[in-house]
């Protein structure tokens, strides 16, 4: 049983969420949510469509320090902005492989995060870019790092009466670069078997964001500075950082393969971030 409402503004949206009493689902792109709704036709759910809320933040807002994505920022809008590509190559690459063209035209970046799939394509990149989430509730707004946002598969820190209104991604310091790698079962449109994003600072400090290797997307610790042109150093750092990966076996792949691929993709993401061609 599906109900639908289109709140006038964000405070109206919060009221609707409150009224829905835990059954409210914020609807933006719907590319994940509506798949779920079709599969659970008898589950009572109230879809709260905030796309036309009058005081919604703009899809993309750029300040001196950060880029703020609103709920209506869709995947396809990321790929076309050269400035975003220069700052967040991993994020743009990740957003460009979410679903198909038609999906990317509709799928919301914030929606992708709120869906909290362990295999979420954009999460690893957002994690290495230190993204923060802004959550609105009747009590006002609160903000948290994306690392704290993911709690479990399908579950986030955004409580039932709350909604995510912004995703802030800091403009990286000079010399910081990111890279993204993903493994799928086929070459066309697919869900990730494993994904990895790497951030590398100008000093060679590496962090990794990992997808589909744990109940939530993971951000690893920072490495000691390394020379990314040195294959041994890269391999050592990848081994050290990916030790947190703890994947399951499922319909897409087995645990052993996922573990091995985490290391391969992490290495490749580091090299992509450092813009180093791997010797074959």
């Amino acid at each position: 049983m599906v109900q639908y409402c289109r709140p006038r503004d964000l405070s109206d949206a919060l009221e609707r969420l409150e009224e829905a009493n835990g059954r409210g689902r914020v609807l933006v792109g719907g590319t994940d949510l509506l798949v779920h709704v079709r599969r659970q036709p008898t589950e009572p759910v109230v879809l709260i469509d905030i796309k036309t809320a009058s005081d919604l933040p703009p899809a993309v807002e750029i300040t001196d320090e950060l880029v703020r994505f609103g709920p209506t920022a869709v995947m396809s809008s990321l790929a076309v902005d050269p400035q975003l590509r220069a700052w967040f190559p991993a994020l743009v690459d990740a957003s460009a492989v979410v679903g198909s063209v038609a999906i990317r035209n509709r799928a919301s970046l914030i929606g992708n995060i709120c869906n909290a799939s362990p295999a979420c394509d954009t999460a690893p990149a957002l994690l290495v870019h230190d993204a923060r989430v802004t959550i609105l509730s009747q009590d006002g707004t609160r903000s948290m790092p994306l690392t704290d946002f993911f709690l479990a598969p399908g579950r986030t820190a955004c409580a039932s009466g709350e909604l995510v209104i912004a995703l802030d991604v800091p403009i990286p310091a000079n010399g910081f670069r990111s890279g993204f790698q993903r493994l799928t079962r086929r070459r066309g449109v697919d869900l990730a078997t494993v994904s990895a994003a790497a951030g590398v600072t100008d000093r060679g400090v590496v962090t990794l964001g990992l997808g589909a290797v744990a109940p939530t997307p993971l951000l690893t610790a920072e490495s000691a500075p390394i020379d990314c042109a040195d294959a041994d150093q890269v391999a050592a750092v990848v081994d050290e950082l990916t030790a947190v990966a703890n994947p399951i076996s499922d319909v897409r792949a087995g645990r052993e393969y996922r573990l091995a691929m985490t290391r391969v993709l992490a290495k490749r993401a580091v090299l992509a971030a450092a813009q180093i061609e791997e010797a074959s």
């Binding site: 049983m1 639908y4 469509d49 063209v101 038609a102 999906i103 509709r106």
Partner: protein
């Protein structure tokens, strides 16, 4: 022993939605869960838009929503208030388009169920990237499955149609 018991449900209440479909204003009275795909097919009898996976994975239901390609199975009718939709029927009002002709000339059409979605997706591609390379065509069309696997033929059709458009402009 197990049972398959599920929670009882309330009956469905309708929403009134006003939108434009193929340049005509239409009013739909639909329950909230009615997808744009089902609305087009069942309420408006626009059956050129096809239903296969209903999960946004196959592309058979591709339409333009406010000029942008979407999977109509992943859009609700109620979301489209005030928006404009163009379906395969809307692309076929003045006889066959150049793309549709080239689909036929290239042998791209076999069973044909995926073809309306393929044509709409290809039209969307050529509008945004008139000089698409074969690789770009494959990337852009990868969300449109064809089980008869006319992929090579469709790429050829799009390339020829693109060439015809570039010649004209």
């Amino acid at each position: 022993m197990s049972t398959n018991e599920v929670a009882p449900t309330n009956h469905l209440s309708d929403h009134q939605v006003t939108l434009e479909v193929n340049e005509q204003a239409v009013v739909l009275n639909v329950p909230a869960h009615r997808t744009l795909l089902d609305g087009l097919r069942d309420e408006l009898c626009l059956t050129g838009t096809k239903k296969c996976c209903a999960d946004g994975e196959c592309g058979a239901c591709t339409v333009f929503l406010d000029g942008v390609l979407v999977n109509s199975c992943l859009v609700l009718c109620v979301e489209t208030e005030g928006q404009s939709v163009t379906t395969i029927e809307g692309l076929s009002t003045n006889g066959l388009s150049d793309l549709q002709e080239e689909f036929l000339n290239s042998g791209a059409v076999q069973c044909g169920v995926c073809i309306p979605g393929q044509v709409v997706a290809a039209e969307g591609l050529l509008r945004t990237n008139p000089h698409a390379s074969a690789t770009e065509i494959r990337d852009a069309m990868a969300g449109n499955l064809c089980r008869c696997a006319g992929y090579e033929r469709i790429v050829q059709a799009i390339q020829v149609a693109a060439g015809r458009r570039v010649e004209i402009t």
